[in-house]
Symmetry: C2
Subunit: 274 residues, 2 copies
């Protein structure tokens, strides 16, 4: 069972964890909250990331293995009342397991050093649910890293962490580079930099046909509502649009990202086998 | 300006519209609610679909063209107070335009008669936001029709209508066929029926390589959490999985649907041009 019991929402440890719902406190302490068994399992797989674990009595029974693993790893665990969990969790129906984790992001240099083949950049993405979904999709499509520019949502936002479904812990994530230094760095690493934008002159099919997607590629995805600013569209190697074959005006961001990233994944693998 | 003014949430007309938030009333009257300028524009493009239009004074100024068009089409329009709009709208920040629309779905037979090349089937999809996103993606990818089986969410649910971003009005939508009669009907129409499922033996890449996706295809997408039941997996021509190249356990439903539908769209067009 969990080590200590905390039944008051005014416990200093509970209050300290609760504060991590706010970005300013996350930044200061370089820690964030991750809810649910999947996130706890993924965080435990990384050395020294999980720093505190809160559980309810019910969750302790349901997830004995995870809690035992946390305790073996020396993670302080605390049993909390339902009321305290409700205070800590950011979901309507908390899953009874809440982890305090150390930031997992890496330097841009560390992410680019191993000469990545596929990099995903979120520029001006503001909805944390969308950002988390793109992170999960990038992971699934075999992206080597995901970069959140300084104008994008915080990847440690609770909604983003949840929507990433564990992917935040799977691949190198870079937080906060400015766009004007990022693009040159991507190009210097041998990546072709493509922006996904509905107004792009080049369709994804044309990009596939001319082999643009077969080499190392960085995809830049923009804001949900207004896309990407001109200075980014001007700086990338090519602006690519996902073709719209029917009557829809546009695709949503996460959908467009899925189509682009999987097109790259397939084109790169086809190049390898031929 | 709008015809009559309604300032009471107890007005019979307001109450009649408000009831359409419930599926039982929608079914009985074969009418549904669609919010916002985009939905109103799309509904007006179809003959006899928009049957009543509610607007706020602010929206009347902002969308004069739409309201004039509705009036020219003989649609009864009503100016309502902010309070009444808040009662009618299902969103937190109503856009000030709310349409009562006649159901737009068509028979399965009508949808299959023109020998479709790409059909999207939602089986056991329960989240209306997901269903609407898949509908929008299917429209963008050039799907000829979208079929909601009897075990799926109601496409006229307000969240689904909103997430479809107008696509509900763009392409033939079929509501309610049972799966055991649907699959034979799809096959008889010359469609190869593919189920998307993470446990599929055939990867999407393999299906593309062997030409499975080049011909007329119906894609079946299942439940967000548990996928598709065995009787469906057994009945389709092939169960196809979207490959996971990275550490993610799975893709979300709308993402997987986007990857599958766009793979089909490209494969079918490549076949035509060669």
């Amino acid at each position: 069972m969990a080590g200590r019991e905390l039944t008051s929402t005014r416990s200093p440890r509970v209050k300290a964890a609760r504060r991590l719902a706010k970005r300013a406190f996350r930044r200061r302490e370089r820690r964030f909250l991750a809810e649910g068994p999947q996130a706890v399992r993924e965080a435990l797989a990384l050395d020294g990331v999980l720093t505190e674990l809160f559980t309810t009595a019910e969750a302790e029974i349901r997830h004995q293995d995870l809690i035992a693993q946390a305790e073996r790893s020396g993670v302080p665990t605390f049993r909390v009342s339902g009321e305290v969990m409700a205070e800590l969790a950011q979901t309507v129906t908390p899953q009874g397991l809440l982890a305090v984790c150390a930031f997992v992001d890496v330097d841009l240099r560390a992410a680019l050093e191993p000469q990545p083949r596929l990099v995903t950049v979120l520029a001006h993405v503001r909805d944390p649910g969308n950002a988390g979904t793109v992170l999960r999709t990038a992971d699934a499509a075999g992206s080597d890293s995901v970069i959140f520019t300084d104008a994008s949502v915080d990847p440690y936002n609770g909604k983003c962490v949840r929507a990433s479904a564990g992917s935040l812990f799977h691949l190198p994530v870079v937080v906060g580079p400015r766009f004007d230094t990022l693009i040159p760095a991507l190009k210097e690493s041998g990546l072709t930099v493509l922006a996904a934008d509905g107004a792009g002159k080049c369709s994804l099919d044309a990009a596939l046909d001319k082999g643009t997607l077969s080499g190392p590629t960085a995809w830049v995805f923009g804001n949900e509502a207004w896309g990407l600013p001109d200075e980014i569209l001007d700086a990338v190697d090519e602006v690519v649009r996902v073709p719209i074959y029917g009557g829809a005006e546009s695709l949503n961001l996460a959908t467009a990202a899925a189509v682009c990233l999987y097109a790259s994944a397939r084109a790169q693998r086809a190049g390898e086998s031929s």
